[in-house]
Symmetry: C2
Subunit: 309 residues, 2 copies
């Protein structure tokens, strides 16, 4: 847990912004750090299950948001990298538990058998539990030069976003909503918690690694909220417009399981317009933040709305 | 999360020590705080499942250890109460997940249907996940007057004790050990992680609420380690010597499921002697701690070894 992984920012000096290059560099840091921090030798195969659940897969949107927000406020790189990995561990554990037979009963994830298929349900349950604990452990290292108030703030943001008033609460609403007609406010509330809370926390945690003023923090919070909702609207659109191969997961699943979605509620065209509107809100928040370089955050928001998988 | 619950210490001025009175007073504080901090209105029944899993039950040994250790080092009462509740939430979530069909498949706990029987497996899984997040959230309140370095230290101790190198790792070894002949070192390692880590963390977290010197901290760590092992040895003894009604859970379960225990390894008489020896180690550590009042810790260790359920 004392390992240091440095992650400088080559794009900061570039005149124009290349999201691809920026992402590749930062993803390399994140992958290396995750691999270092998820010990393979955890007892009785638990480490193997944890690594399987996290490594070699995923778009890593949340870590990239943490790192982009941290760079926008000149945050501590070590704190940002730890926060980036912690958020990804929470996301990864939620997928492991979500895929289990008592939840979504998914057998494939990122083109591989899901953790419970590969390691058994009990080990999947434990691996998810251990990943959540590890997420918090990463945020409170001794001797890494991260001020105590930053460590505490990062834990606070992550715990709130992961718990009953965040991700877990959103999943509970999701469970209860199968076959139920939600209105737009209820659907928004579900997604605000289920996926929005952790996306928004990613931005807030990045911001907590530096010392943005209150106005900048409020602007980044608005950015995170809009981006979190936009992510889900686009997810719902892709579920009906893309095939499974492009998505890397089962397409048409929401409709098949009679889950309410933005598309079922608004129709495809209005859902698309809503996503664009949310992108506009996110970009407007950045423009009003007073921060000098928000190009990575801007490019990530555009990528979220215009992605094809 | 901003609620304050005060918990003064009436026993500190008493000449002799009455563990019963001390425990009753402190348990009242803990119950009240837990009830206040586990919000009933978490979405879609999640709050109800979380409260069901935690409230009105359990010996609360871990919270009492936190509070006793904190008092021994004149720790901050608010920090200690939060730490006490956080440790109990981790313990409670581990029971919820442990009871699930894919793990121990238990239908009764503390005389009530287990959480998954009462609320369904998916809700039980989510409730456990949300309880873990809440445990960390309790440790990092804003505006509660707990110094940042104490908040960070408490998170660090709890995360390590709960994760792959602690409780979750011990559970993974336990899973893998059914029907396997373990030697004493392997059995000790399993229990050191599965139950010992959280018991030891309870003592260490209590100590982290004050400012014990290094020698006192080391002594408390030895106390916690000995007590953690003693707890498990006694658990194994009670599993074969008590009936289910006395235990409040299914007796003889370890033997029936062919799990290795201290009794199956050492025999009843040597297991009993081993528990007494560990109690001696715990009390010797307290005596060497240099702390002026360790009566509650002492009485709790005696209670752990001499309990009948």
């Amino acid at each position: 847990m004392d390992a240091r992984v440095s992650c400088s920012n080559p794009s900061a000096v570039a005149a124009s912004f290349d999201l691809g290059a920026w992402s590749r560099h930062h993803l390399e840091c994140v992958e290396q750090a995750l691999s270092q921090w998820i010990a393979p030798d955890a007892p009785a195969g638990l480490g193997a299950a944890m690594r399987y659940a996290v490594l070699d897969g995923g778009k890593r949107l949340r870590p990239l948001l943490v790192l982009a927000a941290s760079e926008a406020v000149a945050g501590l790189p070590e704190a940002a990298l730890r926060a980036a990995c912690a958020v990804e561990l929470i996301h990864a554990y939620s997928l492991v538990h979500d895929d289990m037979p008592c939840m979504d009963n998914d057998v494939l994830r990122r083109g591989k058998p899901t953790v419970h298929v590969q390691f058994g349900q009990a080990q999947a349950l434990l691996a998810g539990d251990a990943l959540q604990a590890l997420a918090f452990e990463l945020l409170v290292p001794e001797g890494a030069g991260i001020p105590d108030h930053v460590q505490a703030a990062l834990c606070r943001l992550l715990a709130r976003a992961a718990g009953a008033e965040g991700m877990a609460g959103g999943q509970a609403i999701d469970l209860a909503s199968v076959g139920v007609a939600l209105d737009e406010a209820q659907l928004r509330q579900m997604h605000r918690l289920k996926t929005g809370a952790l996306l928004q926390a990613s931005v807030a945690m990045g911001a907590a690694c530096g010392c943005a003023d209150a106005a900048a923090q409020a602007a980044l919070a608005r950015y995170g909220a809009a981006l979190g909702l936009a992510f889900q609207v686009v997810d719902d659109i892709l579920d009906v417009t893309q095939d499974s191969a492009t998505l890397g997961k089962t397409a048409g699943k929401d409709a098949a399981s009679d889950k309410p979605t933005y598309v079922s509620l608004l129709g495809l065209q209005r859902a698309r317009a809503h996503a664009d509107e949310l992108l506009g809100q996110a970009l407007a928040a950045l423009a009003a933040s007073g921060l000098s370089d928000t190009r990575a955050l801007q490019a990530l928001a555009e990528m979220v709305v215009n992605r094809s998988n």
